[in-house]
């Protein structure tokens, strides 16, 4: 029965081109390129996903997804992730538990400029500029700015402050604390946003309005966890697909 269709004609496939060899050290790893494009794509695709899911999921589910996307799901309204009354300076906070890795090691890894560059790639291109400062570039609409390490408690806590005006992220911090039940370390990422003014600023606020920053914070934490536990970040870059951007 298994071969009942073996009489179907089969093309002779002797035209298969040789595969190019991977080039080891010369290639770029994920997260080192396309950061800005990633951010834009993810924003628009999340909206599409939301709509598609809402269409597929029905009225009750729309409420659920909507609540989660607004960040009001199960969170307290007085804590971080609250919906800001004015639409300005929203704060986001997201946590991840990284099993079997002590806080010291996580701290050291986060301190590595290469780490920040890779895990923030979906949101901004981050380049060290010396003196503990980094240059953040979130694209033409959301702008670029410098951040300075303002508080550094080895193995526990780091806090960065934006330098000058026009910074999308006014302040960011990461805290490492032991997880309950000997389950590793909890990493808490927190960011205060200060969207640029004017029409673009308001659009950015809507786009980022307490949903995307939280999603991006969570994504960066997932990337950090993957990097620490496996040495790499999951990616769909440079994969085969029948469209210009294969990701």
């Amino acid at each position: 029965m298994a071969d009942q269709h073996d009489d179907r004609p089969r093309p002779v496939r002797n035209d298969i081109p040789a595969r190019p060899r991977a080039t080891g050290a010369a290639q770029s790893w994920p997260g080192q390129r396309h950061g800005r494009q990633d951010a834009l794509r993810d924003r628009s695709s999340l909206g599409i996903v939301g709509l598609a899911l809402a269409a597929a999921a029905g009225v009750a589910a729309i409420g659920l997804i909507d609540a989660q996307m607004r960040g009001t799901g199960s969170r307290t309204r007085t804590g971080p992730n609250r919906q800001p009354v004015s639409g300005h300076e929203p704060e986001v906070e997201r946590s991840i538990t990284i099993e079997d890795v002590p806080a010291d090691e996580l701290y050291r890894c986060w301190r590595d400029p290469e780490t920040m560059k890779r895990i923030m790639a979906p949101f901004a291109d981050v380049q060290p500029t010396g003196d503990g400062q980094t240059r953040w570039n979130a694209g033409p609409n959301l702008g670029s700015w410098d951040m300075r390490l303002a508080d550094d408690q080895p193995g526990e806590f780091m806090r960065w402050e934006a330098q000058g005006g026009g910074a999308l992220i006014r302040e960011a911090s990461v805290r490492f604390r032991p997880a309950g039940g000997n389950r590793g370390t909890v990493v808490v990422l927190r960011a205060s946003l200060d969207p640029p003014g004017g029409m673009l600023g308001r659009i950015a606020t809507q786009m980022l309005g307490n949903t995307l920053p939280a999603a991006l914070a969570s994504k960066s934490l997932h990337y950090f966890k993957a990097l620490v536990q496996t040495g790499e970040i999951p990616t769909t870059e440079r994969q085969p697909a029948a469209r210009p951007d294969p990701r």
């Binding site: 298994a2 269709h5 073996d6 999340l46 996903v49 899911l53 009225v59 966890k225």
Partner: protein, 389 residues
Amino acid sequence: MRALIWNGVNDLRVETVKDPEIVNPRDCILRVTMSTTCGSDLHFIDGYIPTMKAGDVIGHEFMGVVEDVGPEVKKVRKGDRVVVPSFITCGQCWYCKNKLYSLCDNTHPKPELQEPILGYPTAGIYGYTHAFGGYAGAHAQYVRVPFADNDCFKVPDGLPDEQVLFLSDAAPTGYMGADFCNIQPGDVVAVWGCGGVGLMAQKSAFLMGAERVIGIDRLPERLQMAREHVGSETINYEEVDSVLEVLKEMTGGRGPDACIDAVGMEAHGIGLQYAYDRAKQLMYMHTDRGQALREAILACRKGGILSILGVYGVMDKFPIGAIMNKGLTVRTAQQHGQAYMDRLLDHAQKGELNPSFLATHRFPLEDAPHGYAMFKHKEDGCVRSVFIP
């Protein structure tokens, strides 16, 4: 290379795309020797699961020969003939260490697409929507396999491709479904669905010591397979007034000790409930037609085990009261294939498990759209279409 591309709802075409390459240091590239259709693919082909993108390479059940390995791959070597479970897993996170492989925390490139729906992201899958990672699939000449050392399982010499191919998904999914049932001597296990996964669940239940296995479907050729290849008793639900009553009578009024749902969100059925589900699904008011699952819940004996393998999205009218009042234990997951692969290969080598009878139809990759159409419409007794690139 040539690959099967999803271009929109019910629009599959074989097209030329670039070859995959080593992207991360623990990747390998596999030259695909055989891949197969899965019933869960029909959900996004039919448009019931969103987050596909036009141009996606699909396919998640496959095997092949290692063509190239990344600099950090230690065990897998070029030339190895391997089978690969459909979920991509790192082997190093808490979930992998606890053998909950399809819940791996480190292989989803787009967790922001899944967290709003599920609360937390799962592992990524090959060729199965961007909400599940957006990885390129395996109905292609080549596929990139991340974490090669964890996910490539070397095939012992002497086992033909068709016997091994289904160890990628159908066999471990069915095996896990039976494993969930904690089968004790004398147990009766009922399985809704006699497709690839359902038949593998039935076979696995026998391997784990079930005294009787009852397969439920509507297609005579699949019921015949369940009887002849597996040794199950069968019920054609279109030929009986009530599956519940038939199962009760077959089990002396007690009910099956465990019930496995191997159907999922596009269940067929009869009567008013089916019409209601179908109407709501067509209007996209919910994604699932859940007749098989509801039946399994009602038929299961008091204190029994309900094992859910069918893929679901969002369903209403879910009889949680029957689960609660009868004290059922519900076990469910996407397949943790890596946890079962050694045992499955052992069963295959001993001749106890030979899923090759599922491969009812073979096609060259160029004919894959036709293969999917035959599979979807179950033409000519098609249980699984197998593609050879």
